[in-house]
């Protein structure tokens, strides 16, 4: 096996004028040095990939579009040798105009990333593209409901604000890793992907192989959080393996991880019209997603932001638009929360400013506007099973919300509470299939292509199938992913697995039980209809003593095993020009409430307490569910207070874990609590990987606003921004002589 070390671009946007590989190739132990041009010259593989647009080169060809883009690969049996040789590759660049900000890149006259429109992946059928490469746009999505101009005309007050979220890293403990073996007429890949079947398809397209000759094996991942969705390192390892005729391993360093897949930096311009009584009557919002240099999944992600900007409110007139804009920064991809974090950061922040202006309590203004059963969402869907009001009231009670509570002061320390509410969809349409295999000893295998990445999908699926079959969960084994063996699943993202794979698995279990019933009927010489299956026992209804365990049925009927299969397909989708249709099979509903303390001398914010509430439908694995919410809390506090990929002219400045901060236990609130609201009659399982996350940053920011009147409009809520906000506020108060009305003061940055 050969180890690969990548030579990465040091230019943000440039033509490659020369790649000098001679010294590296001559380095003792170096087996091969490969460039993008080398791959292109072979003619036996495609050299561009991407889940929607085929825009990303395996290794850069002619042009680099971000600092950190792979330009050449060095292979050696010893990774240290590969490292040393890689340092000897020299690349010459002729710089091109570069652009780093999404709104600036949108229709930029000076910087254009693609002179020609990239081709699209023929099999990605569910995304209608409104790409415009001349404007650096890789997709646009629009949602229109009612008549937004009429809505604004009727409004008593109109609020117009801009909110920014920076790029951030998912920071999985384990960085991307892949081994690819393309020897012979097959490709086998061991990958840390969250999307094994999409990756298989991408690799088959790349190497020109039928799907069944590409095998993707996925062991347990050390975290993913979206960063490992869609191919990134796999095409490189696969292509190189074909070139050298040996297995190739690529394991990213932490520094490389930071430039491989990021959270979208996003600017949201949001205008909201309200009546004096607090009703929201119109909303117009535009989101500029910074997609980075390649489209990856941005073309689909714009849909989530476009409807996401509506928020969980019944607004009669809405027009939202989301643009995914290419810039010369590392590609942005999937990231826990899938654009909803950035939307909520904008609309929940603005809502508290509205409440303040109208003199309405923040909890009350949400009660007034939150969606109720029967309301029409901006997508035209009539919503049901809405529990927002219950979730809000319960969270307000848990945090001890009191509209008249004064801000607590103790010297420089000021304390207050904040609240926020969020709606989020899950990926729709979507498909999962599962196989349940009953053995003669009563043990059960679940064959699934859901990826275990620490979220606990395997124990959760085991618990689900055990419950379905009425057997001990210890008898159930859940597979890891191997596309040669485990059946199709769309992807492990979007908090979909418990619902989608769980549903498919339930059907597979039912199918297996149906077959068991047929077999048992033969064995017991009764009509299948006379049999009942209770607690893993098949028995003739009413005749307790005539019963067989599931294993006995398999054994005695000599079928070897009994296989049940199940598929769950959800349908839906939205029109990209109007946003009308079915956005999501069900809606994730989430609220958060935070109590914070700010040191007004330094601007430093601490979260003292946090409580969230999520509508879970049905909780399958209570401990796992709790852990997902706690994981969201760590993620959310990091996003809120410290996480930021800082770029200087496209060069990442916070590219190591000494510079990029993730929260530590000391940064966590001392007290936290999550409510997982259930509704057994609803009978649906909602995923819990993400929903608790998006309310966290706005709840913290809203608490800061109540404490100090400082409104932070760009994440993270750094101490410095807060201090600047406090100073500006003090200055404007002094200038005004006094404050008769609390106005919001924008912090810089």
């Amino acid at each position: 096996m050969l180890h690969c070390r990548l030579v990465r671009s040091t230019a943000a946007h440039a033509e490659i004028t020369a790649v000098r590989t001679g010294d590296a190739a001559a380095w003792p132990g170096a087996v091969a040095v490969v460039t993008g041009a080398d791959l292109a010259a072979r003619g036996d593989m495609a050299v561009l990939f991407g889940p929607v647009l085929l825009d990303q080169p395996v290794l850069a060809i002619d042009v680099v579009r971000y600092i950190g883009e792979p330009v050449a690969a060095v292979l050696a049996e010893d990774p240290a040798v590969a490292d040393e040789a890689a340092a000897l590759v020299e690349v010459d660049y002729a710089h091109l105009p570069a652009v780093f900000d999404a709104e600036e890149a949108f229709g930029s006259d000076t910087a254009r990333l693609f002179p020609e429109p990239p081709e699209r992946d023929p099999s990605f059928v569910d995304v209608t593209l409104r790409a415009d490469h001349e404007r650096n746009v890789c997709n646009t999505f629009t949602v229109v409901k009612g008549d937004v101009e009429a809505g604004f005309a009727a409004a008593d007050l109109v609020f117009d604000d801009v909110f920014d979220s920076p790029a951030a890293g998912a920071v999985p403990l384990e960085t991307h890793a892949v081994v690819a073996d393309a020897r012979g007429d097959r490709l086998t890949v061991w990958s840390s992907t969250q999307t094994p079947y999409i990756t298989r398809r991408q690799l088959a397209l790349l190497l020109g192989l039928p799907l069944n000759r590409v095998r993707v094996i996925v062991p347990a991942l050390g975290g993913g959080f979206g960063a490992k969705a869609y191919a990134s390192v796999e095409p490189i390892a696969a292509a190189l393996s074909r070139v050298v005729g040996a297995p190739v391993r690529l394991h990213l360093t932490r520094e490389e991880e930071f430039v491989t897949s990021t959270k979208h930096a996003m600017r949201v311009r949001i205008r909201t019209g309200v009546m004096r009584d607090g009703r929201i009557v119109a909303r117009e919002a535009t989101a500029y997603y910074n997609a980075g240099a390649y489209a990856v999944i941005s073309p689909r992600k714009v849909m989530f932001g476009a409807y996401g900007l509506n928020g969980p409110y019944a607004i009669p007139h809405v027009r939202t638009e989301a643009h995914a804009v290419l810039t010369n920064t590392p590609p942005a991809g999937a990231y826990r929360g899938f654009a909803i974090n950035q939307c909520a950061w904008a609309y929940e922040g603005q809502l508290d400013m509205i409440a303040e202006r109208l003199g309405i309590d923040p909890v009350e203004i949400r009660r007034i506007n939150l969606l109720r059963d029967g309301d029409t969402f901006c997508t035209g869907e009539t919503l049901d099973h809405l529990r927002f009001h219950d979730l809000l009231d319960a969270a307000a009670e848990r945090i001890g919300w009191d509209p008249d509570e004064p801000v607590h002061r103790d010297g420089d320390l000021v304390r207050a509470k904040g609240i926020s509410c969020v709606i989020e969809g899950t990926i729709t349409p979507s498909t999962s299939t599962a196989t349940v295999r009953l053995g003669p000893d009563g043990s059960v295998d679940v064959l699934t292509s859901s990826v275990e990445m620490g979220q606990g999908i395997r124990p959760a699926l085991a618990a689900g199938v055990a419950r379905h079959l009425g057997i001990d969960p210890a008898l159930v084994g859940v597979s890891y992913v191997d596309t040669d063996l485990t059946p199709y699943d769309q992807q492990t993202t979007a908090s979909r697995s418990m619902y989608s794979m769980g549903g498919a698995m339930g059907r597979a279990a039912d199918d297996a039980l149906h077959k068991i019933r047929e077999l048992a009927a033969d064995l017991l010489e009764v009509d299948p209809a006379d049999l009942e299956i209770v607690d893993g026992q098949v028995r003739v209804a009413g005749v307790e003593q005539q019963s067989l365990s599931l294993g006995e049925v398999v054994r005695r009927s000599q079928v070897g095993n009994v296989i049940g299969e199940g598929t769950l397909v959800t349908s839906g989708g939205l029109d990209p020009f109007t946003g009308q249709g079915v956005g999501s099979v069900h809606w994730h509903q989430s609220v958060g409430a935070a109590e914070i303390e700010v040191d007004t001398a330094t601007g430093h914010v601490r979260v003292l307490r946090y409580t969230g509430g999520v509508f879970a439908g049905e909780v399958v694995d209570p401990v796992g569910a709790e852990h997902q919410c706690e994981g969201c809390l760590v993620f959310g506090v990091g996003n809120a207070l410290m996480e930021e990929l800082v770029f200087d002219q496209g060069q990442l400045v916070t590219g190591t874990l000494a510079d990029y901060m993730v929260p530590t236990l000391e940064d966590m609130p001392r007290h936290h609590e999550f409510e997982l609201m259930e509704d057994p009659e609803h009978g649906e399982v909602h995923g819990l990987g993400e929903p608790a996350l998006p309310p966290i940053a706005p709840a913290i920011s809203n608490a800061l606003y109540r404490a100090t009147g400082v409104r932070i409009r760009s994440l993270p809520i750094s101490a410095e921004k807060v201090l600047r906000g406090l100073r500006e506020r003090r200055e404007s108060e002094q200038a005004a002589g006094q404050v008769d009305e609390v106005t919001s003061v924008g912090a810089q940055g």
Binding site: E84, H604, V646, T664, L723
Partner: protein, 299 residues
Amino acid sequence: MSTPAFFFPRSVAEAVDVMDSYDGAAKLVAGGTALTLMVQQRLVSPQALVSLRDVPGLGEVLVDEDSGLLRIGALVTHAAAARHPLVRRHAPLLADSLAVVGNAQVRSAATVGGVLAEADYASDPPATLRALDAEVAAHGLAGERTIGVGELLLGFYQTALAPAEVVTEVRVPVLPAGTGSAYLKYTSRSHEDRPCVGVAAIVGLADDGSCADLRVAVGAACDAPLRLGDVEQQIRGRRLDGATLSEFADAYADRIDPVSDVRGSAWYRREMVRVWVRRAIEQALLRSGAHEHSKERAQ
């Protein structure tokens, strides 16, 4: 660019010799916490690494009664020094500043010699050692010399050490009884971040409650720990009331030439110096004997 040679000298003199033979292309290794990162990120590419691991006598902590010096061997780790009873008794703020460095893994490897020799501006212990008027003993080709921490730390990653000079010991004058002292580390981002600003303060009060001794060093805010001797002088004999402390903190804030980095802009750093100088002195006052007396009297 090949793998460096590795040496484990058994004496300081041998270490100096090996270092000298590489003529500046060798690096000493103590805890290795800083050096490993520098090598990994290719900030340095030494031809040889010279470990101090097997040099005897660099791991001791003792108090020299004659000179009144607390002597800490260069290889003593942050964790070991922070919990050492002699350090806690005679230089409690040094124990405090070592105990807040990074995280437990770093503290149990990083050494007191290494942190000074590294001269990273964003470190905690150097400011404290500067406030304590500590010195280091260093062995080089010309034999042993002592260097005050103020003279040792010249700027960003710059020290007065010669390429083949080994720090063997850190010498800290023992604080007189009744002295109040504190080290306050302020992190602007995660709790385990390096300091945005760190302030070490030492206060001794006269019987009449006026200031007999005030020493303040600000770390992590500029190229090397900042101490303003003239400002310290001016405050002696005065009462440390709120206005005086503000005046003092303002002097530090006004005279510092702060850095800008991901932990804070120069503007922010200056403001934080203002806040934390004052807070550190207040904290030191709380721990001073005078305060203990007044508490007793009040009871």
